[in-house]
Amino acid sequence: MSETAAASAEMHHTSTGLPNRKLLMWAFIGSECMLFGSLIITYLVYRGRSIVGPYPEELLNIPFITVTTFVLLMSSLTMVLALAAVQRNDMRQGKLWLLMTALLGLVFLSGQVYEFSHFVHEGLGLTTNLFGASFFLLTGTHGAHVFVGVIWLTTLFVLAVRGKLTSANAETVEITGLYWHFVDVVWIVLFTIIYLLV
């Protein structure tokens, strides 16, 4: 990819010795804490205030979501394995783990899609009640973030297949990983407050 080796000497000096893009991603993640925080506030404030059903206790399927949660957690593992592989320039493993991470992300998303359509089938839509609105918005926003991550990972995989991703791009893979792990971490919070604290 573009910026790394080609960047001029003048842009190389940094006050901290840390890469600009990594600082950017962590600052962005900080901002996302407030974004998901505000959505979580909405969900928690409206818990128990739906005037009509269906209600969460009727619909939420803990065993099913536990499986998808586990899938997403494992995708974080495959992500760090991908990074480790790219860092040591083992692009064969790098490709494998990048692909696995994207696939696991897709599996998670399929689970979400299945759950959403099941809920709709059971009478819970976006506009049915406060639970529908806040649940679909919160988990939908998270799902959209996962989707963007899957696209991002797939792009890196394709680059790797074309021989354009090497250990020189390890920083890019690291930053992708930070985004991916954060999305996983948000799910850890959502799994607890939506499903386990129903």
Partner: protein, 104 residues
């Protein structure tokens, strides 16, 4: 000041596998607790603690924060603290903790 990149300390692949296993176990424990009636009274604090543990593990090891510069820790923990405090304040204002809430 220039080359203070702390890439010396590094988690090994073995560490990652152990962390992943622990994450899986904690998830299983969380779900088990959910179904154990006797633990109902302490369900909330227990689940919050367990998910906080998972959160910390992913951030510290997978996101490498444990081994990285404190600057990254600051960029993450500061905003996280602000978000958590505001969530708690809003829950209090809306009476989610019982009592006080006059906001509705």
């Amino acid at each position: 000041m220039e080359n203070s990149v702390t890439e010396h300390d590094h988690a090994s692949v073995k560490t990652y596998l152990v962390v992943a296993a622990v994450l899986g176990i904690i998830t299983a424990v969380e779900v088990a607790i959910f179904y154990i009636d006797a633990l109902r009274p302490v369900l909330v604090p227990l689940l919050l603690t367990l998910s906080a543990a998972k959160f910390t593990l992913v951030v510290s090891f997978f996101m490498h924060l444990k081994y990285d510069s404190k600057i990254f820790r600051g960029l993450f923990v500061g905003p996280l603290a602000v978000a958590v405090l505001i969530i708690l304040a809003m829950l209090a204002l809306f009476g989610v903790f019982g009592g006080g809430g006059g906001a509705a």
